[in-house]
Symmetry: C2
Subunit: 387 residues, 2 copies
């Protein structure tokens, strides 16, 4: 297998983008990535997308995006793994370049969620859970993650204030990220006064509905070194791991963490020959505040049950022990489902290049992205490093 | 890259299977493939599926199938490329094994289409076309392929009788395939008396709505040779090619063929170091009778414009110059969208092993599968051979 570098990134503005179509979003982010890489062609591409069939009444989006991007007669494939669609697509692009089948591969994640009624978007999102045993009973994701939060509080004494600390931090980081959906600082009182969605989760514990896209260009590391326009440190993919778990939350052994995160991380650490102590910055799947607390424990940054305390103590702030979601995360930056896994990786590339602006983590050389689908039935962990 | 073998196949019964759920179909075909291969584990899996979101209100089906198959903590990824979802998923499995990332990979294609109203299934199918420029105008796939048929008739003198010859042959082959949806011989009169769907295409020119699943197990060729339970010739993947084209038919240079088929075949021939003359048997994407005529021309079996004559002359029968769709094809065997690309490959494996029963092509050593998505916006061509 060949070593693979990320030679281009494209990050679109996230938000309620009523003036842009799905095609616009996917094509703009892709063109930005191609321009950033300075490549003159692509050999193959992957489109990470969750539910275009129900959200925009369009399947078969991979050749569609290739078409509107101006590419014909290349392989273009859509990957769907719920909220982990983007990182699953990235994994395919990585394997395709590593295998030697293709040299220049585009991975774009995109989702257009705000062109339909919110109730319809929530219905679409619910299709990532077990429809027969969860969806038909009326439970949606806030309810599922509320069960996780309740159990985490019961077992470890995690507090409402600790959940809020995640939201406060991620809104603060998003405030300084020009691409983020929210540029609104929140404090504990705002959160305590926000509507209860599913006890104990309030509005500000939930990531929003978002339009957006992000893209990366992958190349063999040896070829990447020859690119003429390199104006930044080269970033390589050191490791990746993907794991599944039961589709239904009720069938898990434990509700206080996600086994698929731990397993995916184990694979990624092994492949990259890195240890948890080597990680300088991480983008984490905070679809709900409790998900970030579980993730930083499952990944090994903090012992199980101690994640809430760590966030409250500021250890995950930019400048803290391990900066988590300097981009603002799903909570503050927005969560265009199929784009999320790709933008997390692109955000880590920005950090490793030293291009993260006001949210730059000093001397970041190794970064990690964790992308979670459904209630943890799919998890992908990716480790990147400066060459 | 490592050479890759197909060491196991599982082909479910196709039809209106109201007693089985999507999970049942996908799991049963997968278990059959695992049993056929005699492997004791899988490292990774891919699920080819078109539109579970709209057909059965369930996305995130890759970890779901892994879960119901009894696998946890492995990578499981869904691939969607309309009617070419199955072969696109197969390509991913192939690349994953070839790359060295995984040793034993399951690829399963499945679709559950008959649990909703036919009008709703037709709506789902229409999402594989360009929703903004085709679907919203009211055109569906029979209409799009009718345009192709009309133009083919105009340019080359292809006749209504030649279209019928495709349906008669494929129903005849399906009649002898116990897994096929239709076991009903049709003659020219039946076809001429069947309802007009989109002029010139009548009911018997169209593939049906079908429930079904099929699966294959991939392994490195060198490892496959060590399997203890080999009771048949070993089949390896010699070449694969995938290509996209414009999503909308109106934007093509030509309506009388599919450029993506020609390009995908070119890549597959090159990778396999085979010539068209080496192919002994082919499974072709006959979603409509005209599609088979176009495909056998685009692949190079017959000159452009001569496909209809070739079928009428019996050259594509079992025992003819090049047997096309000995399984019965989509027309006779059925077309469970996401399963189709996988079952085509599994059917070719049966032929190369000499296990195709009454539809066996004598001395078949090299076979080809062509799987087409939408109106040709995605095409995958795969070449297999006996080692």
């Amino acid at each position: 297998m060949r070593d693979v570098a990320i030679v281009g990134i494209g990050i679109g503005k996230f938000g309620s983008l009523w003036e842009k179509s799905f095609r616009d979003l996917a094509v703009e982010a892709s063109l930005d990535a191609i321009k950033d890489a300075g490549v003159d062609h692509i050999d193959s591409m992957y489109v990470g997308n969750f539910s275009a069939g129900t959200l925009i009444e369009q399947e078969h989006i991979a050749p569609l995006v290739a078409d509107y991007l101006g590419y014909r007669l290349i392989p273009s494939t859509r990957v769907e793994n719920a909220c982990a669609s983007g990182s699953s697509a990235f994994r395919m692009g990585l394997i395709e370049v590593a295998s030697g089948i293709s040299d220049v591969v585009l991975v774009v994640g995109a989702e257009k969620m705000t062109d339909i009624k919110t109730s319809e978007a929530l219905y679409s999102l619910s299709l990532a859970a077990d429809r027969e045993y969860e969806g038909y009973q009326g439970i949606t994701f806030p309810g599922l993650f509320a069960l996780v939060a309740k159990r985490h509080m019961f077992e470890f004494g995690t507090t409402r204030k600790q959940l809020s600390a995640v939201a406060i931090k991620n809104h603060k980081n998003a405030y300084r990220n020009p691409k983020a959906q929210f540029h609104q600082l929140v404090n504990e009182e705002d959160i305590e006064n926000s509507p209860m969605i599913a006890d104990p989760l309030r509005l500000y514990d939930c990531s929003p509905i978002t339009d957006g896209a992000a893209a990366v260009i992958l190349m063999p590391l040896d070829e990447a070194k020859k690119l003429s326009n390199l104006h930044h440190p080269l970033v390589k993919v050191s490791g990746i791991g993907q794991a599944n778990d039961t589709i239904a939350l009720a069938q898990r052994d434990s509700l206080v963490g996600f086994a698929a995160t731990t397993e995916a991380a184990k694979k990624a650490y092994k492949m990259s020959e890195k240890k948890i102590e080597d990680i300088d910055v991480a983008e984490i799947h905070d679809c709900f505040t409790i998900a970030e607390i579980c993730a930083i424990e499952d990944l090994g940054f903090f012992p199980k049950g101690k994640g809430g305390e760590a966030v409250e103590a500021g250890l995950t702030e930019i400048g803290g022990k391990i900066p988590i979601n300097p981009s603002g995360g799903l909570k503050g930056k927005g969560h265009p489902v199929g784009a999320t896994g790709v933008v997390q990786i692109a955000n880590i590339v920005e950090q490793l290049r030293g291009e993260a602006g006001e949210n730059q983590v000093k001397n970041a050389k190794v970064g990690l992205a964790q992308n979670l689908g459904g209630s943890g039935a799919t998890v992908v962990v990716t480790i990147l490093e400066v060459v």
